[in-house]
């Protein structure tokens, strides 16, 4: 039989994968109909496809599925007649011993007197219907259990979401508490006798929690910068304080902050006796000769 390379190369794999159109499938069926060798090659590919599919993770069905299915099967068997089965095949007829055979005139049994035989089909049908209804009820209950289980999972998932939100709120609350504490410290500076304190604010517009004060001791002229809620420093960077005279910035030393962004720095260096403003910028480690444009974080007027 001539081998059709197009059908075997192009259509056989997709026939095995059950992914052909009806027309294509008919074409393959027609080709293998009189070609047992081709049919064997196709069957081998079909087995491989079945092996591929069989690697899918199994999911054990609920018992109700089987119960419902077998009820339908038993009903079908009852409707269409006695099946040929190992378990239900009628036993071979036993030889009837004349001595124990019941004479025709023998008194009828209570079953016969009650006409029990007439009810057997009805009782069997009733039992079958009851079985089917029970199976259907079991299937329904099984689904309800599945739905409830899904709801529990959803509620548990919801609980996780609430827990996550609570953690976030607690974290936010802690941050606010730290900011409040830092601001209270800064406020205390304003009221300290013998000193003059000015507020220095966020120069970026993006970090409203950040704040600072510059306190100058009237007696000594020593100036102390206190900062709060500054962004943590990246490795290789430092904060640098500046005093500004006119438009000229003069370095007032570098400093770092703690893990909460708080820090204290006594202005140092060759400072002018008087200055117009004070600021803080982010600079490379060691400081810069002039503030890096765009890196000025805090800025405030001197008194």
């Amino acid at each position: 039989m001539e081998r059709n390379q197009r059908i075997e190369d192009e259509l056989f794999p997709f026939y095995a994968l059950d992914a052909l159109t009806i027309e294509e499938r008919d074409e393959v069926d027609g080709y293998i109909a009189g070609n047992p060798e081709a049919a064997a090659r196709l069957a081998a590919l079909t087995r491989a496809a079945a092996d591929l599919v069989a690697t899918t993770a199994p999911v054990t069905p609920s018992p109700a599925v089987k119960a419902g299915l077998m009820a339908r099967v038993q009903a079908d068997v009852a409707r269409t007649g006695t099946p040929v089965t190992a378990s239900t095949a009628p036993p071979a007829p036993r030889p009837t011993h004349p001595a124990i055979s019941r004479p025709a005139a023998l008194k009828p049994s209570w079953r016969e007197r009650l006409g029990f035989g007439r009810f057997v089909p009805a009782l069997a049908a009733f039992a079958l219907v009851a079985f089917i209804l029970s199976a259907a009820a079991a299937l329904r209950l099984s689904r309800q259990v599945d739905e409830l289980q899904a709801q529990i999972v959803a509620l548990e998932a919801g609980d996780d979401v609430m827990q996550t939100r609570l953690s976030a709120l607690e974290s936010e609350n802690e941050t606010l508490r730290r900011e409040l504490s830092a601001r209270e410290d800064l406020l205390a500076e304003f009221n300290r006798p013998g000193s003059v304190t000015v507020a220095i604010g966020d120069a970026t517009g993006n970090l409203p929690g950040m704040a600072a004060t510059l306190t100058t001791e009237i007696a000594t002229g020593a100036a102390t910068l206190r900062v709060a809620n500054m962004p943590p420093l990246e490795p290789g960077t430092t904060y640098q304080a500046w005093v500004i005279v006119g438009s000229t910035p003069v370095s007032a030393g570098t400093f770092s902050v703690d893990s909460n962004g708080n820090g204290t720095h006594v202005l140092s260096g060759d400072l002018p006796a008087d200055f117009d403003a004070v600021g803080v910028s982010l600079e490379p480690q060691g400081g810069s000769a002039a503030p890096t444009p765009g890196n000025i974080l805090l800025l405030g007027q001197s008194f």
Binding site: D9, P13, F14, L17, T46, A49, V53, T85, A86, S87
Partner: protein
Amino acid sequence: MPKSSDMDHLTNASDEQLMARVTARDADAFEHLYDRYAPVTLGIIVRIVQDRTEGEEVLQESFWRVWNQAETFDPAKGPFRAWLFSIARRQALDLLRRRNVRPQAARDENEERQFEQAAAPDNVGEAAEQAIATEQMRGAMTHLPQEQLQVLELAYFGGLTRQEIARTTGLPLGTVHTRARLGLQHLRSLLGAGKNDE
């Protein structure tokens, strides 16, 4: 209720032997086939429809078709399980089409594991053998080139025709043919042709 010797006989019977009895309306043989293949069949269905409850309805309907259309099974065209999986797959894809939903081509492993359960405990030995065979096949699958596996999965689980696969992946149709053919041939060689020719 079948006798224990009948049970043993049925347990040891091949799929095709059981199907011959199902064709003769043997409910016990049918029940054995159900026990043998229901979990993996439901796995396939759930992988396509993504819903266990609907999957169980499709499973029951698929086996009902096996019972009603047993005489149409032709062992010359492939093994029973391929025929069963094909029925189940079509039922699942039909459900999706009624829902007007594009089938899932494949899910990631974690998603798949959500549905995974232990094998039915009523026949532990058989379940264990099946599990070992499945693991062997999974092991073989890891050796299958990803681009070949993709085409096979799009065709089977995605319900795509070869032309649709070409459009979806942007591959030339000829490449799609080649990858599907090589993928199945590769799988045959990995799993051993001898085993498949049982």
